[in-house]
């Protein structure tokens, strides 16, 4: 999830309606707009749906600081969130060398979107491909697919509401590949109530996890201490 949130501020600027413009100019415009968000702090609800995790919904604080610092904190309890596994943000990506490909048009929930693909020129980059689905009429990114060498393909769906004017989403749904989790029964001494259905081996390995973040409020560009990222 963090890897998306790192990308997110820059996604906002992909929403610029420039279908006829050169892709390079589009990216340049995005990069310049991206500079305007230095940091934000957001209050949000976190809903976790990972096959091996049973976690109640939590209230969290999301911290972002340019260029690529992101932290999700549950001040009142414990939340397990996916680690940042992509070391670059879209902001830093935009400052790198890559190809921007106009990949046509599509619809998401009956909303027309333009599809833009990003291909890094550096063959050794962790990011393999980023595909953005942009609502050109509202200048918002509605969906992103990010493929990395380390984690496969992650998908992000964004919903907008009261913060749409600031291009900040009200809700993010992030889905990603999950690992298997197993501990020996001799360690856990689980209570077997007789109702557990055993899954065939390998079934869990290909499952996907999903995390939903519903934002309640944002505080933008008010300054953030480095301590919150420790």
């Amino acid at each position: 999830m963090n890897r998306f949130l790192l990308f997110f501020p820059a996604f906002l600027f992909f929403s610029t309606y420039l279908p006829a413009q050169d892709a390079g100019i589009l990216i340049q415009s995005i990069r310049e707009k991206l500079e305007k968000i230095n940091d934000y702090r957001a209050q949000a609800s976190l809903k976790t749906n990972i096959p091996f995790l049973r976690v109640p919904d939590a209230e969290v604080t999301v911290y972002y600081k340019k260029p690529n610092r992101i932290k999700i904190k549950n001040e009142k309890g414990i939340s397990l969130v996916p680690k940042e596994s992509v070391s670059i943000s879209l902001y830093s990506l935009l400052n790198g060398k890559y190809q921007v490909i106009d990949a046509g048009k599509d619809k998401i929930n009956n909303i027309p979107v333009r599809i833009v693909k990003l291909l890094p020129e550096n063959e050794n980059a962790d990011l393999v491909l980023a595909t953005l689905y942009i609502d050109a009429s509202r200048l918002l990114v509605l969906k992103a697919k990010i493929t990395t060498r380390e984690n496969g393909t992650d998908e992000v769906i964004l919903s907008y509401g009261k913060y749409a004017a600031s291009s900040l989403p009200d809700k993010i749904i992030f889905s990603f590949n999950t690992q298997d989790y197993k501990l020996p029964k001799g360690v856990t001494f689980d209570y077997d109530d007789g109702s557990q259905k055993k899954q065939p081996p390998g079934d869990q390995k290909n499952q996907r996890g999903k995390i939903e973040i519903s934002y309640h409020s944002y505080e933008i560009n008010r300054g953030l201490s480095e301590d919150v990222f420790k």
Partner: protein, 293 residues
């Protein structure tokens, strides 16, 4: 009846072996607490395994009093039956060994009453041992580690329960553990009727608990379907069921819920049936026994 019960409790708590259990529990709990205080992160890393590479693990928050108490109970509730057997196995056999059993049954109470009082005293001892365990494992852990949400590691999943949702689960778990350990006490009590000294019933009880626990934990389908559901040791672990929560359609844990209360209640009644069977058998045999010592 009350005065007889007082006498039986006096007998139990007059013996120094009674306090071995309290001392042993205190020592084990403090050793575990000290180890987790010193290097709890390593233990949590072991529990989360490879997930630490893909998830942010808030070690400092996870290592709290509720979590430490659960670890302690997980480790100790397998072994505490051995301490229960020390006293319960001595209940009748100890009297026979000291030559006081014949004198005891000559009192103007029926043998059935005498047995029920002796078993009640054993159950009170068991309950006190668990209260002691609750105090030092929960209260001291909260004092040393503070409170937070609790992380429960299961064979194939991790659960997080909010701190406001934890305490009632512990109360239910300790209450259930009292019934579970009373089953062991009842078994030792029954075996005590057959012996002339307490070593036999104590060792026999420990042996049965070890063998049954092994059978309960072995992952052999044949035993899982046939033997395991009937072993009382399988049902003794149901206290953990209070820490298993339901999940909603979206995969989120639902606070205040128990995953399978029906199964816990079934286990509860199986244990009650065992206790009733053991104690009734002990009374039946004792009533027919020719007491010579």
């Amino acid at each position: 009846m009350w005065s007889l019960l007082q006498i039986e409790l006096f007998k139990i708590f007059r013996k120094s072996r009674t306090y071995i259990s309290f001392g042993a529990i205190a020592a084990m709990v403090i050793i575990i607490q000290a180890a987790l205080k010193y290097d709890g992160k390593s233990y949590i890393e072991f529990l989360v395994g490879g997930l630490k590479d893909s998830l942010e693990i808030p070690y400092d928050h996870i290592l709290n009093g509720y979590f430490v108490c659960f670890i302690i109970l997980n480790l100790l509730l397998i072994h505490i039956p051995l301490l229960i057997a020390l006293v319960a196995g001595d209940s009748i056999a100890g009297e026979a060994n000291m030559g006081t059993l014949r004198l005891l049954v000559s009192k103007p109470v029926s043998r059935t009453q005498l047995m029920l009082i002796k078993f009640a005293a054993t159950v009170i001892y068991t309950a006190l041992l668990l209260i002691w365990l609750a105090f030092i494992s929960l209260a001291l852990s909260i004092l040393f580690f503070g409170t937070n949400d609790i992380l429960i590691a299961r064979n194939d999943s991790l659960e997080i329960i909010r701190r406001s949702d934890v305490m009632w689960r512990y109360l239910a778990a300790f209450a259930y553990a009292t019934v579970a350990l009373s089953t062991v006490a009842a078994l030792a009590f029954l075996l005590s009727v057959f012996a002339e000294n307490s070593i036999g019933p104590i060792v026999s009880t420990i042996s049965v608990v070890i063998v049954f626990t092994l059978l309960s934990e072995m992952q052999i389908p044949l035993y899982d379907r046939t033997v395991k559901p009937w072993l009382f040791t399988s049902h003794m672990l149901a206290w953990k069921g209070f820490f298993y929560t339901k999940v909603d359609a979206g995969g989120s844990a639902i606070p205040g819920t128990i995953e399978n209360l029906q199964a816990i209640m079934k286990s509860f009644w199986v244990l009650i049936a065992y206790i009733t069977g053991f104690v009734a058998s002990a009374i039946f045999i004792f009533n027919r026994k020719d007491i010579l010592s």
